[in-house]
Amino acid sequence: MNETQSSGRGGAFDLSQFHSVFFEEAGDNLANMEMLLLSVDNTSADDETLNAIFRCAHSIKGGAATFGFQDVADLTHVMETLLDKLRRHELNVTRLMIDTLLESGDVLKQLLACRQQGVRADVDFAPLVTRIGDLTAGRVVVVDPPAGHAAVQAASKALHTEPLIELEIGPLDNPGAVDAIAELFTEIPGLGTIESMADVDHPDGPCKRLMVRSRSSDGDLFDLLSFHIARERIRIARKDAAPIAPAPVASAPKVAAPAAPAAAASDDFGFFGDPVSAPPAAAPVAASVAPMEPVAAAPAAAPAPMRRESDRSGGGVNLESSTIRVPIEKVDQLINLVGELVITQAMLAQNGRDLDPVAHQSMMVGLADLERSTRLLQESVMAIRMIPMAMVFNRFPRMLRDLASKLGKQVDLLTIGEDTELDKGLIEKITDPLTHLVRNAADHGIEPPAERLAAGKPAQGTVTLAASHSGGSIVIEVRDDGRGLNREKLLKKAIERGIPVHDQMTDQDVYGLIFEPGFSTAAEVTDISGRGVGMDVVKRNIVSLGGSVEIDSTLGRGMRVSVRLPLTLAIMDGMSVGVGHETYILPLASVVESIHLNDEDIKSVGGTGRVVEVRDSFLPIISVRELFDVRPERDGEGGIMIVVEAEGGRIALLVDELIGQHQVVVKNLESNYRKVPGVSGATILGDGRVSLILDVSWFVRRARH
């Protein structure tokens, strides 16, 4: 393996210690490259962008070659060659080039992921290398539209189990023969698939090169194809026998050249003073350097062949000098410690209240200072975990682009407020629901161009992603200027599905129907949005993060989905309640109201269930004391009922007393103890006792059964 070879050559140096840095860096470079490639799409690329894209590929190649990831180095090498020609204006950027480079980026991601996990990358990117080679050579490349996408999917799918065969057909007298051959592959089941098709030059006339995946033998292929073209005009080459590195890469100048033993003269290192590039053996270097051409004379001697070395200002902003990478565990540890500090501070404050303020004046001042500093410290530490929404938004331009071309729609993406920050944990969890909402907007919201034009709208639809702060939460909106929601259709659909509705429902409530399980507005399920994961799952995910979601729409004008989330999962506004000797915390967001209980309000239903009538509706009662088997301080059921809401349902929780509202530092119970039904986490109270945070959703679900 290359890795072992590399570290072997490294002697006492273990290069694997730099791998994680390389993987992160390569990931950043890939993301950056993708963003830049998307920005040159459909427009003429400016020099700085092309240079920046080149640098991304170049940087990945250099690192990959150094750390022995030869496949990554090989692919980036051909990409770099193409990009170099582009930035030198020896070639013009085409849509196909951008597509191919984006596809290469996807393959690189896979290769890197495999390398990172230490598994063998089972990705055949030879056709991609061939195509990039053809593009670089200025040859016309024809890619079957589905095959273009397929190449990436092929990498992970079963396609690779079928051997890769290169078919060269020609010279072609009748171009129709190729189409006929291509049709064979769609008509004959099991024959195989065409991965790519390219024009190739042949001294006797135009030829086509088809990369084909097929299990058929050469003889069978000859027999089949000879229906359409003479046998002698068919050349078949099996690609799988060859090592991963394809031909164009093998000739790569010096990339893969192994370091020669010190004594042997090699071209990997040399002095400019010596034209033959043989290192001056033991000559004092100062001497060999000093007589070299004076710098002032240099410009006259050689008109610098590399262009624009110095005016590379702007673009490719490198934040590295002002940021540091820290493992998330370190940050979490810090947050935990600050949490402990907050608790200690709260304990001190509680004890301080009993002291005589006059006698302990300086102590009181100190406690007040401590409280302020603790709060500031807590806020600063929490800010470390905050990540800009751009981290999520950045994935959508690419997704929408692929989606739009699949759907035959024109969709533009507008992002607002990418700098808005959100807790890292939330960022990770909100990505999937947002992806679903954006897909939905493009798939169901935005109309096909003809329909839009007929409605007097521009052919290109716009999906807007906007993030902003509002109070203690963040609001993320997914807007589209598509067809909007149709109230009548929604109501009709709901009736068909047996969902209870009535005509007096507000628009808000009608739109909310799309969050009902099993409700889908599309006439048929498409492979884009309708994957069985409906809007109900989106809503459930958002609610489980302590958030909420709202829909607003105008028929024919578009729709807006607003997702509201708390800024962080680590701190929560809680309401503490007393049950016997225990204190429990309820998330304030799910508390609707609290009511003093009169025994006559309680009604028994069936054998075991009890309900209470609150504002004309009956809510099931759950006694926390009974459920958790808490020893009562006194006889009789406690007197406070707290109405809580989750997952669209309300219940009444019976507790003994209401203690108060305050912010709590949420501790994960599962990782510190084990998962406990009905409990979502724990916190430490001002007096040092542990208090459990109740999982309201669990209670609501329990009441339903």
Partner: protein, 125 residues
């Protein structure tokens, strides 16, 4: 202690080179591109410069030209760490005032061998 300036926009390459050099007893100044290198140097003198070519803001050749324009860097060896070794690169490097080049990829042992040639007896045997 001999001081080496290492300039590369790739953090992994920079760490690898820096680690190699520090393990061999050199002091290292790291910079992420030509401009950063000039900023970090101030009025310090150094014994050797190792620089990448392709970097944002100011590339390797730009850095070399800037360094050579300073009196105290007239005699300092400057090596370009580059993936290219074509004539075009060599011409440009020579014109800018580089002392020599080392083609990437290289491993720590090769790097130290080359440094030993440029700074004799600097690498502990």
């Amino acid at each position: 202690m001999r001081v080496i300036l290492v300039v590369d926009d790739s953090a992994s390459m920079r760490q690898m080179v820096t680690f190699t050099l520090k393990s061999s007893g050199f002091e290292v100044i790291e910079a992420i591109d030509g401009q950063d290198a000039l900023d970090k140097l101030g009025d310090r003198s150094i014994d050797l410069v190792l620089t990448d070519q392709n970097m944002p803001r100011m590339d390797g050749l730009g850095l070399i030209r800037n360094l050579r324009a300073l009196m105290r860097f007239q005699g300092t060896p400057i090596l370009m760490l580059t993936t290219e070794s074509g004539d075009e690169m060599k011409q440009a490097g020579r014109a800018a005032g580089a002392t020599g080049w080392l083609v990437k990829p290289f491993d720590p042992v090769r790097l130290l061998q080359v440094i030993d040639k440029v700074l004799p007896r600097a690498v502990p045997q």
